[in-house]
């Protein structure tokens, strides 16, 4: 929104007149009713559960309704170690969620494999197969960190445009909402990553302008 309009809005609100846009209203509703999937993988899930209980009270953010079906969920919190044997199921659960859908990768294991990175059985980060919106470092992250990640996601939702070229993936017809489920190979998962999602893979342009590949 242009700055003049914002100022006008503030000026009007000072005089007791409330104005809004459809986009703001829509995103305000969406960001305050993000329903996560009932889904935990490892010790991070215990912190996630703690976050929903009375002391940390994720319900304050409209996210207390953990849905036991991916069809009813808006958010998948990948809370814990994703083993290679579990990775296809995680991707399948993500595929079964309706758009718009969001992903929080919680903890060192979910974002990179963590202490098990050099092992034979752990996926080196779920962002190899599905697009992650917010990464939380920590082992495990404290409930405050999850709340911070959740608020970061809320800000992200709030800023999503409903029209124009910058609109998010779920509003663009050509972009996929499902991603290929990796298969069990003879030595590991096939393929080891989805290059269309995992932007920093070899042969794919480095996504972030501040990053470059070390040769």
């Amino acid at each position: 929104m242009a700055d003049e309009l914002k100022e006008l809005k503030i000026e009007l609100s000072k005089n007791g007149i409330f104005t809004t846009t459809l986009e703001e209203l829509y995103n305000w509703g969406r960001k305050n009713s993000v329903w996560p999937l009932t889904f935990g993988l490892a010790c991070c899930a215990i912190e996630m559960i703690a976050t929903t209980m009375a002391r940390y009270d994720l319900a304050r953010f409209g996210a207390e309704v953990f849905r036991p079906s991916p069809r009813q969920a808006d958010l998948i919190i990948v809370s814990g170690t994703v083993t290679k044997k579990m990775a296809p199921q995680v991707v399948r659960l993500y595929n079964q969620m309706p758009e718009p859908k969001y992903v929080i990768a919680m903890g060192a294991c979910a974002i990179s494999g963590g202490p098990f990175r050099d092992g034979y059985n752990v996926l080196k980060g779920i962002d190899r197969y599905i697009p992650v919106d917010v990464h939380i470092p920590g082992c495990p992250p404290r409930p405050e960190a999850l709340i911070h990640a959740f608020m970061t996601l809320q800000n992200k939702i709030e800023e999503q445009a409903l029209a124009g070229s910058a609109r998010p993936r779920h509003l663009q017809k050509d972009l996929p909402s499902e991603f290929p489920v990796p298969e069990f190979g003879e030595h590991g998962l096939e393929p080891p990553q989805n290059d269309l999602v995992f932007h920093d893979a070899p042969g794919y342009p480095v996504s972030h302008p501040d990053l470059k590949v070390i040769q």
Binding site: N121, P192, D210
Partner: protein
């Protein structure tokens, strides 16, 4: 009642199970937990003997695991008499140190820890060894004697490639069925799925993306 010494156990096994040969593997650590190496042909009989022994009643197998002993090369210095050319060109017989290398073929090992619930004693440690690490990786299964060994033998099969003959359901348990490797072996190499490292690039003036 405490268990007798490994020598006593060995003697009783060899008396109780005709033809069985038991080797005691010494454990040099302070725990002194010596173990019994069984031969393949009589392993099942020895296991039954230990389980049903009136005084020992080793009815509980707490642990089955695998051990990988890779091929090793030992080298020792041997003094050998040899003709050596001296500085003046004459040959003379001298004692020379020579390094002799001997290759010791590796093997896989299944280890069982036995306790008695009834008599409250233990452990007795059993070992079974395979012929080598490549084509003769069979050992007899002790699952028919201790039912609780089933999943742990499957795990040793999955991660070490030890084939337990007589196991009722020998399949991989942790890795998927199509998996070809044995990840806990010493020479296992994980698939190269690392990505190139990225480092922060200093943004050009006016190109800063943050702040």
């Amino acid at each position: 009642m405490a268990l007798p010494s490994p020598d006593e156990i060995k003697a009783q096994i060899e008396a109780g199970v005709p033809g069985a040969s038991v080797t005691i593997i010494q454990n040099g650590s302070p725990s002194g937990q010596h173990s019994l190496l069984l031969d393949h042909a009589h392993a099942g009989g020895v296991a039954k003997f230990l389980r049903d022994h009136a005084e020992w009643r080793l009815d509980y197998c707490t642990l089955v695991t695998g051990v990988d002993w890779p091929d090793t090369e030992t080298s020792e210095k041997v003094k050998v008499k040899k003709l050596v050319k001296g500085a003046d060109g004459t040959e003379s017989e001298q004692e020379v140190d020579e390094v002799r290398k001997t290759k010791v073929p590796g093997f896989l090992e299944a280890v069982y820890h036995l306790y008695s619930m009834e008599k409250k004693h233990g452990p007795v440690v059993l070992r079974l060894r395979t012929g080598n690490r490549t084509d003769d990786t069979r050992v007899p299964s002790l699952t028919p004697v201790w039912r609780g060994a089933e999943f742990q033998e499957r795990e040793a099969f999955d991660l070490y490639g030890i084939v337990f003959e007589g196991h009722p359901d020998l399949r991989r348990i942790l890795m998927w069925d199509g998996f070809k490797d044995y990840p806990m072996r010493k020479d296992y190499v994980a698939p190269a799925d690392e990505i190139p490292l990225v480092e922060a690039r200093t943004p050009a003036p006016g190109q800063e993306t943050h702040g």
